[in-house]
């Protein structure tokens, strides 16, 4: 098991090199000059040239990339073009907010989706099934932006329960986490439902029922555990997508997370900042995938035996 984990972690190195190289050269090949964005429209060519040299942007692209990678190996993510602050300071001060929001949103999503999926499967083709899947459909169809504004109008403006924006207290997490979680709930609920439907038609479920085991025990102990693997996969993928996909949510709720930071950095052609955010996302996504793979082992001992 440990050998497997170490192997997976080592595999991160080529992934990070590949991802940073791709992002670096794509950003550099995009039109637009970060120096122009900093100095503005009225800057003279001399001013532009001077700042370009100061920022090291007059060097060949390969040299710039190699310098960046040497810094990265030493834990230095470089200096942001737009703010002139160390990228590491910016990224590490903002990342915990995104991580916490993503985790709370995942909990909200799972707490809504799994009961919804199970109920829909158990009560297949009934009104409950239709209502559950309709709610799931709404979740996937409703633009996050709109849902977020509705939540603000109701819970912040009308009822005054939760803050409109910021991350000052635990109450600040409720609305953005619900908005994010509700979106992701839909696919988890549908996956749980179809996985449960497949499982409850298995012979061993029929056998359990014929032996007189109560329906709730059949669902909880026999069906649900075996139907979990696809749900875990979807949840794992969702944590990754929540990390990167929380940009809109962070913008609407003025959440001081890394998603907003990355979008600002892309607009400003702030290559070191974009790369810094990308490295963090890559590591997180890889770790979440690893955890998902390990979780399979706990749910299904047959998979665990394959790790050794």
């Amino acid at each position: 098991m440990i050998k497997y984990v170490v192997k997976r972690l080592l595999a991160l190195i080529p992934v990070i090199i590949g991802v940073t190289m791709l992002v670096f050269f794509i950003l550099k090949s995009a039109p637009g000059d970060p120096v122009r964005l900093i100095l503005g429209e009225q800057a003279t060519p001399e001013q532009v040239a001077e700042l370009t040299e100061q920022m090291g942007l007059d060097q060949p692209l390969l040299v710039q990339y190699v310098k960046y990678m040497i810094g990265l190996v030493q834990g230095d993510l470089g200096i942001a073009y737009s703010t002139r602050r160390p990228v590491a300071d910016e990224v590490f001060s903002r990342f915990p907010y995104t991580l916490k929001l993503s985790l709370v949103a995942t909990v909200v999503s799972i707490a809504l989706a799994i009961p919804l999926g199970i109920i829909a499967a158990v009560k297949q083709n009934t009104v409950i099934d239709n209502v559950s899947m309709f709610v799931a459909l709404i979740g996937i169809s409703m633009p996050m932006f709109w849902l977020a504004l509705l939540l603000m109008l109701l819970f912040s403006l009308k009822l005054g329960w939760f803050p409109v924006s910021g991350a000052a207290s635990w109450q600040s997490y409720i609305l953005p986490a619900f908005a994010l979680g509700f979106m992701n709930m839909a696919s988890t609920a549908r996956t749980t439902r179809s996985s449960m439907l497949e499982t409850i038609r298995q012979d061993y479920i029929r056998t359990a029922r014929s032996k007189g085991v109560s329906n709730s025990v059949v669902i909880r102990k026999h069906a649900f555990k075996n139907a979990l693997i696809p749900t875990i996969t979807v949840c794992g993928l969702q944590i990754g997508s929540l990390l990167g996909g929380s940009v809109l949510c962070e913008t609407v709720f003025a959440w001081p997370g890394i998603g907003r930071l990355m979008v600002q950095a892309i607009s400003a052609r702030d290559v070191p900042m974009v790369l810094g955010c990308t490295v963090i996302f890559t590591i997180c996504f890889s770790i979440v995938n690893l955890l998902v793979d390990l979780l399979y082992g706990f749910v299904d001992p047959r998979i665990k035996s394959m790790y050794s």
Partner: protein
């Protein structure tokens, strides 16, 4: 189990239904129960929370050139001069008087007893150290320090600034953020003014939570007895989404919205709990034509385009009516403003100008670069207007970085852009051909060049005003860049907040604001 399942289903259905219904019923009723700031009618706490769209890139005076960055700078720093936000004229700030000798030596007497936030007193050496350091280290500052040949300390409270030739714009330049004064000792010790901005301003920096807020507290030792800050704590919160800022104001979470979404203006105006201040900005929007390309080098073609554009359609169709039409080459708001020699919408005249040009208008291709949705909407209206005289407009949409790259390299035919300096001289310098280095395709007229140079070197204000008027009339007749409109800025705030004077330059002097008792 059955009971709990039912409960979960009911809870979900209830949450969803209530949420949707509340959202649907919110339109146009915000001035109701929820539409009043918390605690309305009571005395307000001794703090002010301002919601703004963007976060400053830096708190230094020199690492940015953004409205929000300067807004932070004017809280913490002062220059020798300042620009009065009402009249847009210069007035003394850290300086108490000045004299000009030989048209190039400017002697400034400093106010005495002015203290920096670190407790040290302001002396002439701080002024010298600041200007010298900025000139030497900040490439972007050359527009405001470039004319300064030298700066020296005459005595503890006297500074001599020598310009490289007579230069009338010096007082304005000294009021720009690049020339805000920092303590010499901190400059020499390599202080990071981004994390520790130390100036003489009415507010002291407290903390910056990146991505969330910046807090300032009032400077009890502020030197200007006429406008000592009243509100103790000032917090700027960064809320990028316009509607979220409005809801935050309505919910009482913030007291002041710096940039109000135009779609929310009427809603807030109808609510007596808020004041919506409206000010026509000096930000002048125009169609920048590349005059190095034929046929836009021909004044008749430029005049035809200018006369074919219906500015009212642009304002009503693309800007929700929130702008002020302008036809002059300088914005309304400057004391020197004049529309003499300028022409507005007149389709017949436009056709006459094309006839005078003598070419076939259908051969004119006019791709307009646009860097955001508003510009695209404006260009779309212009496309219909110019089609009336047979000119074919193509709308080219791109992001800001690409837009700047193309306009600065001269790789464009036309672009929608704006310019918003606080004084007429700086504005008119744009029409001097030396600006072609930074603005390729701009005007190249020897007569205008000579007039601009003459105005720059005329220290006497009355004589300079006459010259500026002459330039304006001349440039209006050349139509180098058909002017379209001036932006209208809205600031919305708790009605109990008084002393708010929104400026045409976009800034608000928060140290002059106070809560109604």
């Amino acid at each position: 189990m059955k009971k709990s399942k039912r409960l979960v289903s009911l809870l979900l259905a209830a949450m969803f239904t209530v949420g949707t219904l509340a959202g649907c019923s919110s339109g146009g009723t915000s001035s109701g129960a929820g539409g009043t700031p918390s605690g309305s009618g009571e005395a307000h706490a001794d703090s002010l929370v301002i919601a703004t769209q963007s976060e400053p890139a830096s708190l230094t005076t020199y690492d940015h050139d953004s409205l929000i960055g300067v807004s932070m700078n004017i809280l913490t720093y002062n220059g020798l001069m300042r620009i009065d936000q009402g009249t847009l004229k210069t007035e003394y700030d850290l300086a108490e008087s000045h004299t000009v000798e030989n048209d190039v030596d400017w002697i400034f007497k400093l106010k005495q007893g002015v203290k920096f936030h670190d407790g040290t007193e302001l002396h002439a050496e701080d002024v010298v150290a600041t200007i010298e350091w900025v000139k030497a280290n900040v490439p972007g500052s050359s527009g405001y320090t470039g004319k300064i040949a030298s700066v020296e300390e005459v005595d503890e409270y006297t500074v001599k600034i020598t310009t490289d030739g007579p230069y009338a714009g010096l007082l304005y330049d000294l009021g720009y953020h690049y020339n805000f004064i920092m303590p010499k000792a901190l400059i020499e010790s390599g202080n990071d003014f981004n994390t520790n901005p130390v100036g003489t301003g009415p507010y002291k920096f407290v903390e910056w939570s990146h991505g969330d807020h910046i807090t300032f507290t009032k400077n009890e030792d502020y030197f200007d007895e006429t406008c000592k800050p009243s509100i103790t704590e000032l917090t700027w919160r960064f809320i990028p989404e316009g509607t979220s800022r409005t809801i935050a104001l309505e919910a009482g979470e913030v007291d002041f919205v710096y940039e109000v979404e135009t779609t929310d203006v009427s809603r807030l105006q109808s609510n007596s709990a808020f004041t919506v201040a409206e000010v026509t900005s000096v930000e002048n929007w125009f169609l920048n034509l590349n005059k190095d390309l034929a046929p836009f080098d021909d004044v008749n073609v430029r005049k035809a385009i200018n006369c074919a554009i219906n500015r009212d359609n642009i304002i009503n169709g693309a800007l929700n009516g929130y702008a002020k039409a302008n036809i002059s080459c300088v914005p309304v708001g400057y004391a020197e403003y004049s529309d003499e020699g300028a022409e507005g919408y007149d389709l017949e005249k436009a056709k006459e100008y094309l006839t005078a040009w003598g070419g076939d208008p259908s051969t004119i291709s006019l791709p307009i670069l646009c860097s955001n949705d508003v510009k695209v909407r404006i260009a779309t209206i212009m496309q219909a207007d110019l089609a009336e005289i047979g000119i074919n407009v193509e709308i080219v949409s791109m992001d800001q970085a690409t837009y700047l790259s193309q306009t600065s390299s001269g790789d464009f035919t036309a672009a929608l852009t704006s310019w918003s300096p606080s004084n007429a001289l700086t504005y008119l310098q744009r029409y001097h051909s030396r600006r072609r280095a930074s603005n390729p395709g701009s005007l190249n007229d020897p007569e205008v060049d000579a007039l601009v140079e003459q105005a720059e070197s005329t220290i006497d204000e009355a004589a300079r005003t006459e010259l500026l008027h002459e330039i304006i009339v001349k440039v209006n007749g050349l139509v180098p860049q058909p002017t379209l409109y001036q932006s209208v800025n809205f600031r919305a705030f708790d009605a109990r907040l008084k002393g708010v004077v929104p400026s045409a330059t976009g800034y608000v002097d928060f140290h002059r604001c106070y809560w109604e008792a």
